[in-house]
């Protein structure tokens, strides 16, 4: 009985984590190509506001989270029109303000005493079967969307002006991409937490770069690398009783370093 329960925990964790990693890799590739890592961080930090809202409405509906993250992303797009501040500065303001708002609100909920650590680094072993359904749905929809915007998104990544003149709806594609990031953050919160989500996007993508010759290869390898990191992280966390989120991130880092050394050995 107890053995079965543990098995379910681990299996849910593996499935949920692998699904999130499978889409985090490709979205992360674009983040790496477009030098938007800080943007990912900002959206992730704003997820804590989504958590607070969810608690306030007593709902676990991921739509609340997706809406919060998307709003922050769109606010950023709007603020970027003010050329007096660089995107970097604006991201810093948004990221830390929304993180602080989230933390204060969560701490104000008296009836909801919880460990803040849970939101910061996630708790993949708490992923329920319902969560798996939500994650599957979001990941599937994201994969389909990414398939459709793949070429225009790649084109505007390479050269925005050229893409626009060649007929790419630059702003629309950018908004879709931001919404994909926001959705991923919303479902990845439980798996890896607001502080580490960006790592699951950036590190597998960077690891994939060393072994890829085309954008498509890099996307596929980043997915694989992300899934391996999740498996490695869950395994080492159960083996040595360390927090799972950080273990996943470090597994990805090890893969990245292996790729580097393999490449150097080959050269």
């Amino acid at each position: 009985m107890i053995v079965n329960m543990i098995d379910t925990f681990i299996i849910n964790a593996l499935i949920g984590g692998a699904l999130v990693a499978a889409i985090a890799g490709p979205l992360g590739c674009f983040m790496v190509w477009r030098k938007m890592a800080y943007f990912g961080d900002t959206v992730a930090h704003s997820a804590l506001m989504g958590v607070a809202l969810g608690i306030a409405f007593d709902s676990e509906n991921p739509i609340i989270m997706i809406a919060t993250c998307s709003s922050v992303a769109l606010i950023l797009l709007f603020l970027q029109r003010d050329k007096r501040f660089s995107s970097d500065t604006l991201l810093g303001i948004l990221a830390h303000s929304s993180l602080s708002i989230g933390m204060i609100f969560i701490s104000m909920m008296d009836h909801f005493r919880t460990d803040m650590m849970y939101y910061l680094v996630g708790d993949i072993l708490a992923v329920s079967t319902t969560d798996i359904y939500t994650i599957t749905l979001v990941v599937l929809l994201s994969a389909i969307s990414l398939f459709f915007i793949w070429r225009p998104l790649l084109s505007l990544t390479v050269h925005e002006g050229l893409a626009q003149i060649e007929g790419v709806k630059v702003n629309l594609i950018k908004i879709v991409y931001m919404l994909l990031i926001a959705s991923l953050v919303a479902v990845a919160l439980k798996v890896i937490g607001v502080l580490l989500i960006t790592a699951l996007m950036i590190i597998p993508a960077a690891a994939a770069r060393t072994v890829s010759n085309t954008p498509l290869q890099m996307i596929i390898f980043s997915s694989i690398c992300g899934i391996l990191s999740v498996v490695g992280g869950i395994f080492s966390s159960s083996q040595w009783d360390v927090p799972t989120g950080p273990a996943i991130v470090l597994s990805a880092t090890v893969l990245f370093l292996c790729g580097r050394f393999l490449l150097r050995a080959k050269a």
Binding site: P152, L154, Q164, I165, E166
Partner: protein, 256 residues
């Protein structure tokens, strides 16, 4: 006015203002099939703004832009830098253009004599090769109108001649119209049919020979008017380029 059937693009009394700042003032010109129109002007003259308006990605404050219906436009931007973090071959770079096939890509690469680079990383192309790759991307699908933004920036003299040669050849073979931005009248003279000197308004326009001797042109570019002085200046510049581009052209020829 030439007959309208060969006219690809016509701007009539176009002005552009940003708040109180007048960037373009009452600009009129047209581009016909088979002709090259070159925009020349100092920094901040509004060349890029005018080009964006011609391409239809920027609205005018007043005036009218007529673009022949259903013409396809090939655009070549100024220098493009692609970060090494993106693994992208030359073919894949060209294939980013919407609604084309890899067959179209191969044809375009052949036109600019770069078929051998097809599978190489786009980042490994030299400056001159990169400009030819950009030209290839503009040429895919035989556009009716080519719009080129400083096509030879940062290229040595040999490379410049090659690119201008390719542009003129394409124009003569396909009968497309060309709208080009350039810094240097001297270099585009041989291949351009019409020159517009732009400094917020059109200072002067006409054949390159005519413009070259127009006092407005010299006033605008801040160059001395005397024939001999102009000669000296160009001589200096050519000389300078040779010195400057010597190493580059040697390494270029290695690739070719």
């Amino acid at each position: 006015m030439s007959d309208t059937s060969s006219q690809l693009l016509r701007l009539e009394n176009v002005s552009k203002k940003y708040k109180k700042n007048i960037v373009l003032d009452n600009i009129s010109f047209s581009v016909n099939r088979g002709e090259t129109v070159t925009l020349i002007g100092p920094n901040g003259a509004g060349k890029s703004t005018l080009m964006k308006i011609s391409l239809g990605i920027l609205d005018v404050s007043s005036g009218e832009v007529h673009r022949e219906k259903k013409i396809s436009i090939g655009y070549m931007p100024q220098k493009v830098m692609i970060d090494d973090v993106l693994p992208l071959s030359v073919s894949d770079f060209l294939y980013l253009r919407p609604n084309i096939t890899y067959g179209d890509v191969a044809v375009a690469l052949k036109v600019v004599n770069l078929s051998h680079l097809a599978d190489q990383p786009v980042q490994s192309a030299s400056g001159g090769e990169m400009q030819r790759i950009l030209l290839a991307r503009a040429l895919i699908g035989k556009p009716d109108l080519l719009v080129l933004d400083e096509p030879v920036q940062g290229i040595d003299i040999m490379g410049q001649q090659e690119i201008y040669g390719l542009i003129a050849k394409t124009r003569d073979e396909t009968g497309c119209g060309v709208l080009m931005i350039s810094h240097d009248l001297h270099l585009v003279m041989a291949s351009t049919s019409k020159v517009l000197c732009l400094n917020r308004h059109i200072c002067c326009s006409g054949s390159p020979e005519f413009v070259k001797n127009d006092p407005e042109y010299h006033a605008m570019m801040g160059r001395p008017m005397e024939g001999i002085a102009i000669y000296n200046h160009h001589h200096d510049e050519g000389h300078d380029h040779k010195h400057h581009g010597h190493g580059a052209s040697e390494s270029d020829s290695k690739y070719d």
